[in-house]
């Protein structure tokens, strides 16, 4: 719920600031969010994935990086539940550690693009005029290239393939959509009376932007963030699949699919399992995003 230290007008047009007591609001949120089975499943998947990433060292029976050439390309067995890859590494351990890589990249890329994109969007919406035009043209240009092409350009030209280069490329690709969304939300929040009254009592532009507009455009940002994680994880997997993303031997699901494709006919699990993990993660975060959106404001459906 927005904090409005200076002015608080009940019943604004967005329906977010008309705040009933906080606890009831939270219950309503939980009722909608956990009420639909699909959202609940998504939530459980996300919780399990985050726990897996945190406790990866405890959960994994083998080291995900050390080769063991005596046990290459084994089928699932009691020792290696999901078999081993072409270098004899335990698939289960690699998939579990892949969770870490995906989440670290996902969270950092989404947060960086959200911060930059949201600032750009707020600025464009608040100042209007030529500032708006320049920022919007910029997003047009960034969105004129298919996202994956833009990311390939950056990650590919910055040779080395370190984790942070991939994060940088993915964050860069996510700025424009985030900026568009934030700008749209801010423009509609701007219509409200409390922004006008803030101006009337002489608040500075920045103060209005940060204390009035931002908190009210915040809920959709949260939804955008959650959904964005799914998109970024897909992007990372894609880059790694093409060989431009996270480099070996770091376990990345996309890279594992690429490596496994060569052994598709003999060991299909090598490429199919990591892909399934990607799907599960993206599905989980998408559903949680959908759920948060419906619980905050179902009218946002289709907007985000």
């Amino acid at each position: 719920m927005p904090e409005n230290p200076v002015v608080s007008t009940p019943g604004d047009a967005m329906g977010v600031a008309a705040a009933p007591p906080r606890r009831r609001e939270w219950r309503r949120f939980a009722r909608i969010f956990f009420g639909r089975k699909l959202y609940l499943i998504g939530f459980i998947i996300v919780v399990i994935i985050i726990l897996t990433a945190i406790f990866a060292p405890i959960l994994t029976p083998y080291d995900p990086i050390t080769n063991d050439l005596t046990s290459r390309l084994q089928n699932p067995s009691a020792e290696h539940w999901l078999g081993t890859d072409q270098l004899g590494r335990d698939m289960l351990s690699r998939i579990i550690y892949g969770t870490q890589v995906s989440l670290i990249i996902g969270f950092s890329a989404v947060f960086s693009s959200a911060i930059i994109g949201a600032l750009m969007g707020l600025t464009a919406a608040h100042f209007g005029g030529w500032v708006f035009t320049v920022i919007m043209r910029l997003t047009d240009v960034l969105m004129a290239l298919p996202a994956i092409i833009l990311m390939m350009l950056i990650a590919g030209m910055l040779k080395g393939g370190g984790l942070w280069i991939v994060v940088f490329a993915l964050a860069f690709g996510g700025i424009a959509p985030m900026c568009r969304m934030m700008c749209g939300m801010a423009l509609s929040v701007k219509q409200n009376d409390y922004v006008m009254s803030g101006r009337a009592i002489g608040m500075s532009n920045w103060r209005i932007m940060l204390t009035q507009i931002f908190p009210n455009a915040f809920p959709p940002l949260i939804v955008g963030l959650t959904m964005g994680i799914g998109g970024v994880v897909l992007g990372e997997a894609g880059l790694s699949f093409l060989g431009i993303g996270v480099q070996a031997p770091t376990p990345s699901w996309g890279g594992m699919v690429m490596d496994g494709q060569r052994f598709l006919l003999t060991n299909p699990l090598l490429s199919l399992l990591p892909g399934f993990a990607i799907m599960l993660l993206v599905f989980g975060f998408n559903m949680v995003g959908d759920g948060i959106r419906d619980a905050i404001d179902p009218r946002l459906r289709g907007v985000i």
């Binding site: 047009d140 240009v141 960034l142 092409i149 390939m152 590919g156 799914g230 997997a237 699949f241």
Partner: protein, 322 residues
Amino acid sequence: MTAYIIRRIFMGILTLILVTMLVFLLVRLLPGDPLMRYMANFSGTGQQNIMTPEQHEALLKQFGLDKAIYIQYWDWITDILRGDLGESLGVQQPISKLIADVLPRTAYIGILMFAVGTFGGILAGIYCALRRGTWLDNTITTIANIGLTVPVFWLGILLIYVFAYKLDWFPMYGWVAPWDNFWKSCRYVVLPVASVALGGIAGMARLTRSCMLEVIGADYVRTAWAKGLRERVIVVRHQLKNAMIPVVTSLGGTLAIILGGSVFIETVFSIPGMGRLMTQAIFDYDYQVVQASALIFGGIVIFSNLVVDIAWGWLDPRIRYE
């Protein structure tokens, strides 16, 4: 309408110019020696630092890489306007020839993916909206939700495993041009097109369904029912026409996503198209090819957005006077 079209074309050209700058700056300003590939080729041994500093200097001069960055940009742009995309350092052929070879392939499968994805998605979305709550609606909506989360390349691999290897209905990978052998090429494109189109169908179906549901309760639809019009007329003339507006605007974005997907699918199915060309060029640090192919991708998206904008203005007269 003419003023609107002219304004849109002008904006499109402006965006294209800005895209050339973005691509150029990204490729040139990020660190890396553009001559690396050339030298590896030149020496024939794959070793990179076999040249003397003087030779290196001479090469920089030969390719114009010693000039200031804005002069290099200007040279590049004026060459493009003359139809010269430069020469590939990797394979030492004119880039325009390389692209002329691969672009028709990407265009062909891209158009197929786009057509299947949008038509399939819109039809599925309309069906779901009209028969909402039925088991088929639920099934399609669930598949659409899952379809949005599947990595394209993984779906491609899965389809290869199931339909090419286990069932042996289609070839596993490869490319046959439809202009060489149409029937054979059909067998080759089914799996690649299906892998990318599924995501398109999923997105389109979701969007169409929600847009249709929004207008289904509109006053003018109720009036149409009250007038006793037939269902078919109401659906097509009243609901569809209005529900299609957001769907049409999303087509440009859909095409960008499908083009992006085709990059992966060309890798999975070994189709020598634009995506393969660009990926390979990135590996080889063949910066001229990278620049040119990124620009082509951008140009296609900008052009299709322009077409969509004009179509949108035609569908919805309100938009012309924004």
